[in-house]
Symmetry: C2
């Protein structure tokens, strides 16, 4: 495969929200997309919706021989287990990628298990929904979002380039490249810590009737409190050290703000608020 | 005044974002609205925009004699100072209300200072913008939002009723009634704590370039980090005890979540996530 283009044969392994959204985005661009999924219903749904040509509920040579590019849209441990079990059946020259939200503990492990002739180039599509399942898949989740290619020293420039092309074809707003460690630190702060905050906040107060007085600030902050506990607990544990460091750092700053209030030190409080406001300016969403 | 209706003469004191939004909402319904503001430019802007009939930059008898209902749209301490200085010039029979975001430390103090013949019925319009100034005023901020009437034992049923009518006329989604203490506890959790979290989060990490990887969860959680430090520091200090209690409670729950990660206790972590998700269900925005 010289270039990602509609004649490329792309196999999606795992037809949940993310796998389904990949299939939709790519088939809308005319790509040949097929899938391996656990449930026949998911395959039927995707075939009926016109976003895969066909699919299999078991790993089989027919699927693996057909594929030029495989996207693993599985939970992290399921991805590792799949490679351990079926990795040596992958066709020489096949390029594989993933959608996993943590990298340090995944990428090298998978690369170590694969045959020399099969290259794994990791990627993290930073997009999602507070729902799971192929029924909620939607190619529009990628618009305005970030796609990060996470290579190691074992990846070829060609594979990195193809993986970047895939992110562009999917319709991401920005495609960039980070090493595993930088990726995991970034994701600990920007994504995992925010989910921890939302969960802790929802758990911290259950006064009956408060929902009647809720405004947009509370709603926006806790939108992500409706969390997929199976997936996120796995991601948190796989990024434990980086996430603990960010949690501790956040506690320190939260306590510092608390202390300005306890001390009635209005100047120090206002200084933190102004710093917060200045930093937040940079994070506004790019105009579509 | 028997009932709030377009013939009621409403004076707004303070033409910022909130005073301006009150003036817009009421004048659009045909009310007679006038204003006292510090800056002539604010009055000119509001007269030109057709949302006040006229205004004054000084407190004067002409304004106070005209008004049947006065809305104080000032910061809390400025409101108290105003009443201390001019309260005894208010006309007998005038009803006054406010927009202050904290109540326990304001309402009784103001009621104590006023002449017997002037009734103050407190209210909190839970709406706003991350901007200040009459140029950003917009009657649409009230749509879908909560308006809370906060009476004391010194208020008459008639004044409470008129104040509720005002909230309805302004276009709020829900008008309800709370006592001062319940209001301040609620606001400490639902509003002030969320602002503290957003500020502390923004202060806790300044890695260059992180904004390039930001997704919607971080953006939504920190939208309110762009905070008016003058107003919010005043509100925090005026609700110090209730807010400190909520901050401490949040820290406890955040640390409990941290401990599940440190202990790799996935079951306990998932239990917190599920509790969070279940509770969050109740807080969805009412369909318009």
């Amino acid at each position: 495969m010289e270039k990602i283009c509609p004649s490329s044969k792309i196999l999606i392994v795992g037809l949940g929200l993310m796998g389904g959204s990949y299939a939709k985005a790519l088939s809308l661009k005319g790509y040949k997309v097929r899938a391996i999924a656990r449930r026949q219903e998911s395959i039927d749904y995707a075939v009926d919706g016109g976003f895969i040509e066909c699919g299999w509920t078991e790993v089989c040579d027919e699927a693996l021989d057909w594929a030029e590019f495989i996207v693993f849209a599985l939970y992290p441990q399921a991805f590792i287990d799949w490679i351990a079990k079926y990795g040596d059946r992958l066709h020489a020259g096949t390029l594989i990628t993933d959608v996993t939200g943590v990298k340090s503990c995944i990428v090298k492990k998978v690369q170590d298990m694969l045959p020399e002739s099969v290259e794994f180039i990791a990627a993290h599509p930073m997009a999602g929904r507070e729902r799971s399942g192929v029924e909620y898949s939607d190619e529009k989740v990628f618009s305005g979002a970030n796609y990060i290619v996470v290579p190691t020293e074992r990846n070829t420039p060609h594979a990195i380039e193809l993986c970047k092309q895939l992110g562009e074809e999917l319709g991401f707003y920005r495609v960039s490249v980070l090493d595993c460690e930088s990726h995991d630190k970034m994701i600990a702060f920007l994504s995992q810590l925010t989910h921890c905050i939302a969960v802790a906040l929802m758990c911290s107060n259950d006064t009956p009737g408060f929902e009647a007085y809720t405004g947009d600030s509370f709603r926006d902050l806790t939108r992500i409190a409706r969390i997929n506990d199976e997936m996120w607990s796995e991601l948190f544990l796989l990024n434990k050290d980086a996430l603990l460091a960010e949690m501790d750092n956040f506690i320190d700053h939260f306590k510092a703000l608390r202390q300005t209030l306890a001390n009635e030190d209005r100047d120090a409080m206002r200084a933190m608020m102004r710093l917060s406001g200045e930093r937040r300016e940079k994070f506004d969403k790019p105009k579509a």
